[in-house]
Amino acid sequence: MNYTRRDALVIGAGAAVAVAMPFRAFAERHADAISAFTGGADVAQTGVELTAPEIAENGNTVPISVAADGASEIIIFAVGNPVPEVIKFTFGPRSGASSAATRCRLAGTQDLIAVAKMADGSFAQATVNVKVTIGGCGG
């Protein structure tokens, strides 16, 4: 069978939908998890500093750090991972700052979202995009 240009476009569009589908499902999962954390409260877009490399050399070990002055809890999601939850930090009375760093796995290029619960019960969040490269011999 010979493919015409139109066939290719149709197939291509179908493939694009197929590719987009699982990400939509993931997106709903992390949104649900954020709602569960915030109880549906409004979430401010300032007050949380989330740091991650713009380009991760290897998705297996991506250094990330988060800081939110006055936060009692911070939860981090990787929107494009099959399980979006990454980590939840709870800061106790002996904490020196509401900040922490760790290393995480990212299944591909995606957004990381950190949501902080402040001591006064309000919520704030920050989002960063991390490009995960496909390695040559290293990957």
Binding site: N58, P63, T133, G135, G136, C137, G138
Partner: protein, 282 residues
């Protein structure tokens, strides 16, 4: 044409985030707990390049940072494990490494810089793994450890660490010359379905992107290396094996004579670079 320009811009933007593209004067310096590591050195006269460059230079800023503090370097937990093995009695003689090497692993300061080297008694070039296994079997009456496996890589890392900051200085002449020549031949011989030699990547194309990675010079001064890819220490001969699989060739045996010859030759291509042991790579 415009697309190509955009692509090139994207690639150079990516290149900027690694040490390699940064001008010499601003080049990042690898200093680990006060020990300055030579990550660039004039090439030995028998090489076809001007400068030898550690793999550390080719990595992104984030990966480089993991090696600049021994606590941040995950490879160091395996050094801790090796210290446990060092002190543990093992084998029929009732001895640990510490029983004979009463000065501790520090006795081996400098050893890593000259390995692999000719062993007169054995009549062959020996790697550090060969020396460790000889001690296990002959002195301790224990089973040898598998070359390239976790326990061996950790001990090689512990002993290599004692030479951190010292320049690699393997001998290529005298009785080692024949083995070195075999290693050189392997380095330049095209093999596998992709018909490539070590030299095609690591001499002809270092600094160039291979997909989203920077090709390095393939130096061994940082081995064993903790790789982000598999989150463990990797021995140099296992890395050779991985390279050969990438070019769809049948790898030589890890611990066998071909890879030992190649290990000597590759080490000699890094003479002048500091031992990093254990390094962090992607």
């Amino acid at each position: 044409m415009k697309k190509i320009t955009t692509l090139c811009a994207a690639i150079s933007a990516l290149a900027l985030s690694t040490g390699f593209a940064i001008a010499e004067a601003d080049a990042p310096v690898l200093s680990i707990d006060g020990v300055v590591i030579a990550t660039r050195a004039p090439a030995p006269e028998y090489l076809d390049i001007d400068e030898v460059i550690s793999g550390w230079v080719f990595r992104t800023v984030e990966t480089q940072a993991l090696q600049m503090d021994d606590f941040d370097n995950p490879g160091m937990i395996f050094v801790d494990q090796a210290l446990d093995d060092w002190n543990e009695v093992n084998g029929s003689e009732g001895k640990s490494c510490a029983s004979c090497h009463t000065g501790g692993p520090e006795e081996f300061a400098g050893l890593r810089t000259v390995l692999p080297r000719w062993n007169e008694d054995a009549g062959a070039v020996w790697t550090m793994e060969d020396y460790i296994n000889n001690s296990l079997v002959e002195h301790m009456g224990a089973e040898p450890w598998k070359v390239g496996k976790a326990q061996m890589n950790a001990m090689v890392a512990l002993i290599s660490l004692q030479s951190r900051g010292m320049p690699m200085n393997v001998a290529i002449d005298g009785p080692a010359a024949e083995t070195w020549a075999l290693g050189e031949e392997i380095y330049f011989t095209r093999v596998g379905q992709l018909d490539m030699a070590c030299a095609n990547c690591h001499i002809d194309n270092y600094g160039v992107m291979i997909r989203a990675d920077h090709l390095s010079q393939g130096q061994s001064n940082g081995f064993p290396a903790y790789r982000l890819k598999n989150a463990k220490l990797n021995g140099i001969q296992s890395r050779f094996s991985g390279c050969m699989k990438n070019i769809r060739a049948t790898p030589y045996a890890v611990g066998g004579p071909e890879f030992t010859a190649l290990e000597l030759y590759v080490a000699s291509r890094g003479n002048g670079l500091s031992v990093e042991g254990p390094s962090v790579r992607n």
